[in-house]
Symmetry: D2
Subunit: 284 residues, 4 copies
């Protein structure tokens, strides 16, 4: 297997970026496996993702980075070179609902997830056995009114300890403090059980039922300190009718949550998501 790298770039749009980047990659002996780019007309901002294999055994990522820097400077690029051989450590935060946890663990176990699940953290003990069956360490950190701050510190410490790349809130029902949101900005993913911006906050299925909507949905988004307001990565919906009770909605909603979270997480792990203000560019 040849070393496979991803080069992601965002910068102000300008004539000649694609040519310059493609030239550079070719000169370094890189072969484009996949390449996507997008220019947002409104902001005149440019986004690019390249998947590159290097045939030369002599290839040195450090050299590439050093030499690319001057090009990057010229175009005012935000950029990253990612070695796909370095696994991304994922920590899952859960409460008592098992459907998203079980789904992600199964995808990981089947080799369908582009990352490594290294730990599960929960404020309840309920899902301990699922994690253990997959041989994933499970940490029970109870959260009560008085111990909130302490609990969040413990979580932060665990995340650091596990060299966590990506945090997934797989129906974790607690508020994340702003400090943690910031520390994992663009790397902490939540699944909200409604089609945002509809039904921000608590009890979305109950409120969807009361409002009499004809479709219910789920939203996978990056977490910011502003609850349910982070950039959306993926959404999906399913049709409901008057025949569905609140409980039926909750049950049917689980399938949508699972799929929206799994898709959004996969885009993220494959470095396809670029955040631009409150919008995301998905370079698939």
């Amino acid at each position: 297997m040849l070393p496979l790298y991803r080069l992601t770039i965002s910068c102000p749009d300008k004539t000649g970026i694609v040519a310059a980047v493609s030239n550079f990659i070719a000169e370094q002996g890189g072969n484009l496996i996949e390449a996507n780019y997008h220019t947002e007309q409104d902001s005149q901002w440019f986004f690019m993702r390249n998947e590159i294999s290097f045939s030369a055994s002599s290839f040195q990522a450090d050299d590439f980075q050093q030499q690319f820097s001057s090009l990057a400077e010229q175009f005012e690029m935000l950029w990253q070179l990612i070695d796909t051989r370095t696994a991304k450590n994922i920590v899952l935060l859960v409460s008592q609902h098992s459907h998203c946890l079980a789904d992600i663990l199964h995808r990981w176990h089947s080799g369908d997830l582009a990352g490594e699940v290294v730990a599960v953290i929960s404020n309840h003990n309920t899902l301990c056995d699922i994690a253990q069956w997959y041989n994933v360490p499970f940490h029970h950190i109870p959260v009560t009114q008085g111990t909130k701050q302490q609990a969040n510190l413990a979580i932060a410490k665990l995340l650091t300890g596990y060299q966590t790349n990506t945090v997934v809130l797989a129906r974790y029902m607690q508020i994340i403090p702003a400090s943690l949101c910031d520390a994992y900005s663009g790397r902490m993913i939540n699944i909200h059980h409604s089609f945002l911006p509809s039904f921000v906050g608590a009890n979305p299925y109950e409120r969807a039922y009361q409002r009499g909507v004809k479709l219910i949905g789920a939203t996978c988004h990056y977490v910011t300190s502003d609850l349910d307001e982070g950039p959306i990565i993926e959404q999906d919906v399913v049709r409901v009718s008057h025949r569905q009770s609140k409980d039926d909605m909750l049950k049917n909603g689980k399938d949508v949550e699972r799929v929206a979270l799994a898709r959004g997480l996969q885009y993220h792990l494959e470095d396809r998501v670029m955040v631009h203000g409150r919008r995301t560019i998905i370079l698939e």
Copy 2:
């Protein structure tokens, strides 16, 4: 063609309603072509729709109604017997967007709509020629700051004059006064160009773009004096991506608006929609 009637019923749930109604219909020589009912568990409320053909040439709707009254009283029913041979007069209110108007007129012209389009009213002259091609009277009632009240009175008068059964706001961009909303309660249908309750109010596509949602939608609902808050009849969505500009969203949204309005309107015209608080029961 045998006379075809619809009997719609809603009442508190009780043992024996279906039996009593079915018995009554059978005794009157009625044959059930289609029958649907639903009990809402929360409120213990019962909804029923029967499509009945009467073979006896001697059938008299008046007699049926008189005799059914005592049964209806016993079960505290809200009910209606509808002769399907009486066409439902539809008046369309539009502004400058043609897509919904053209779609409904074409469905009507093709014989696919369960009602009669009798007039088009608009605050602009733009869509006059489409209406005229279908030989539908077109009324231009301009609305300016100073003439609003006058305009609404003129509209009300036209609606009365046309013996209007159903009013359709096919992207009519003006506020409807509470008095008109009340007069046509449960018979005035709006198409809102967002997936409600997301993006209530003006410029939903612009706001959907800014929020970075991954699906855009449309909502067909009954009009109440509370803007965009009426009972939802039908909704639909279509996937969008970062590649769609605001203009693309607007263009793609048209297809969703057309279909959601057409489906919701058809349910209404076939007497399939029963309003229960803010929810609708669609007995299809």
Copy 3:
């Protein structure tokens, strides 16, 4: 909890069936929790499903059945009275793909499945540990060219031993002999990984890729001796593009398979599916 029963009926359509059945249920002290019926216009055939709670502690199912028989005879009904307290035993047949198995076991374990998974049978040992984690007996019955008949006998014996109500082929890649298909007619469910009737038979994703379709799907259907031709219970699709390789299709297809199977199986276990020739009536 009051005893809850389901009464399912199919018979030639005739005036007065609903009245007669509803009357009978009311007379027996039954309270309709949910009731659905449908008349197929083409064949003039009538289908009905009633969910009934009986308040009288003295209620005897045997008496009900005996007394209902004469009514049933009069209308030439095929009918069944099902006690919902009697769990339905489900046996899953699998090969090496885990996604459908893991999904059903998780739903069952979460209390979301209207039946009891009592055993897993497989021609491979691969999925043994998943079954065992859920404390479900796992039977490895290898199938080779020479042992096919013997294996099928062993399967038949196990199914009998487990007093199996419903057999689920959760991506079991072997042909089921006609004798087994007949023995479990209307109770053996398969998930086919294509949108039937497209891509009947082997390698549907490969063929979907070659044909360049823009949506791929999955079909949940009853098994008959005629491969992939049994009555369809549920189908679903997901959009694909030229960007998806065959492997991507296979991976994305898993999500559709899971959901189509889960929905179809649930309809079946709730006695909502009535087979009429090659068509199914889903009384939800």
Copy 4:
């Protein structure tokens, strides 16, 4: 408005194509408004679409083409430079169903179609008035058993006369001769009223009903001499249930046909569709 061009390319994949093309465009003073490319891994084939604005008033398409030729030769490219200011002439062939015709004419009239409808040809007179309202010439060319060949010659002559770029079979119920298919290869688009490859040929809704499928669909594809086997551009589906009669399916299907045709046609007119064997690459 600056002149806007599209450059579409397909060729064997090779390192450096993107760099070479981007360099060339930049050297010619071109600014990339939108660019997409795709490499098909199976065949190692490369596809590219560039939307370019040229700021220099001195820009000459001829010069560009001449100079690009040597680059194209080097990479064995199939390529095209398209001036977006040259309108694409569209001729619609229809029979008696109006829904697709009315939809396309309305989109064109609203300025939402990237081409010019220049004529409607039909084997019936039914839809003459719709065409005329839009001031589009209507040609009635009846087709009988004896006059088939003559009719097809007349059609071919009209297509030539109108300098037709794209032919749309908007529910034209006649077989197109191989000679015409070849003459408009990659430029003749059909809408088939099923989710291909399901229900190839006649009466797809009837057969979908008989097979008891749970979703019906429509397929927009290029026409080849092999009936319903041409490369698929776009497909869509809509859910149906046992409650839909054959007539309901036909009615609901119309909405899917309209949308699938409109989307596929728009992709084609915007030069986003690249045919590769039986597959299409949609560079959106």
